[in-house]
Symmetry: C2
Subunit: 270 residues, 2 copies
Amino acid sequence: MERGLLPYFFGRSSVYMSPARTTSGAPISSIGRGIAVLACFSARFRSLTLSELSAKSKLPMSSTHRVVAELVTGGFLVRGNDKRYRIGTRLWSIAQLAPVSEQLRERSLPTLARLYEETGENITLAVLDRGQALYVDRLVGERSIPSVARAGGHLPLHTTGVGKVLLAYQPKENIEKYLSRPLQRPTPYSIADPVRLLAELTEVRAQGYSVTRQEMTAGSGSVAVPIMRGGRAIAAVGVVAHLAKLDVNRLVATLTAAANTIAHELEDDH
Amino acid sequence: MERGLLPYFFGRSSVYMSPARTTSGAPISSIGRGIAVLACFSARFRSLTLSELSAKSKLPMSSTHRVVAELVTGGFLVRGNDKRYRIGTRLWSIAQLAPVSEQLRERSLPTLARLYEETGENITLAVLDRGQALYVDRLVGERSIPSVARAGGHLPLHTTGVGKVLLAYQPKENIEKYLSRPLQRPTPYSIADPVRLLAELTEVRAQGYSVTRQEMTAGSGSVAVPIMRGGRAIAAVGVVAHLAKLDVNRLVATLTAAANTIAHELEDDH
DNA sequence: AGCCCGGTTCCGCTCAATGGAACGGGGGCT
DNA sequence: AGCCCCCGTTCCATTGAGCGGAACCGGGCT
């Protein structure tokens, strides 16, 4: 029954200098830790070991172990035969209820499928999310260019077709805020000069579509149009193809029709 | 500076009978609570208010409030203009890294799109998950039947085309375990008799495809085939259509070809 | 004006969560 | 084989983060 009056003379708890959560700089909540662990996964790291999670999340091994165990029992993580952790179906299943998936993706999909069949090229659908283009879905053909875009992934606004459209239709202040930050240049063709970019955005808004040429990936270009709703561009559809095969006029026509169909589809309930 | 020696004579903390988490029957961890809150969302409830979350999760209002606030700062929940909570894009974004999405869905999508264009009917792709058919994706046409299946949703194995295929190719013991539990009957045509069902599963395995007629929804039927890999059915593709329009032979041929294409597609890396 | 109801804030009380340390165990290198 | 190293697991004393009842707030409806 005695407790708390242990050694003090020989090793052990004499060095017990760091209790609970004083050591770690940031006092994150339990739930925050759970999220931090889940956020360790990325396109490059779709499966991770416990120690990798511990390293990436900056959490001590024992803490990581406990958090991960709870996420596993909750079905948010699964451990494969290779002893590596992956995102679980439970998490995925819940995520499908996100508006972006349930309302936008599902309803657009048939139209995207038709677009894919008509063009035979990569089709992408994206929305603006946290200052980046969030790819809501994509359709990649066997013969089409390998695209960096990935469903669920983020890419810069100024180097992608869909991104430029989404940015162009933003209120002036948001555009200026975006331009004020330093802009990445994934390729030598990327437009990072605020003045040039602003001019191009004005043009995009005027003509109703955007074009990119090797601004994200060498050798490929893209065309994109907005999906309008209530005067705002709520999403963008685009085609990514070999630079040489990029028939802008034809694609603009096809894309605009598809965008209208989707916009119409979204009108329905609520 | 004084503390802990307050009233005791007049109201207040004299009734302080329930500390920390003694009241609630189950001693759930913080992370468990976070998951419990997220799990309140469903196809019927894609947006919820705080009190609804509190009621569904069986957590006290104040606790729910705190948990929800943490999920919001983590981007796992968002609060809309209507003050209702929804699943956030951050959660969705991470979820796309789940194997079921990244490896199965994305790779199958082009083939599903083609299938959709060829048939003009509802296309579904599902895997076995927690004793149910988990719909990995679906394509619904404007003119095709409204389907109950929803990407991310679960349906019983014995009342759906894809479900019967998935169950049929399971090891004998799993089949028996499934049959030993009481089976739902969404429609009068649903097969809930273990003996009849077992016979049908054997037939499915023999002929390589399954057929349902009004077993899940009145007026509609379906055909489905397995996607095989290493001798196991890792997924199933199906078509749902009006009962009258269900041309089984033609669909089996089309679906089998598509399933082979997908299976081949999955062979690649790892 | 009064009421109700969803939501927010407050606060004293603990116990669940914490992380250092010790322990296991498998696989690769010598 | 023997060794070591690294990944993972278990243990445990400590305490502050999480807890939930209660009071408070504000807007819509009666």
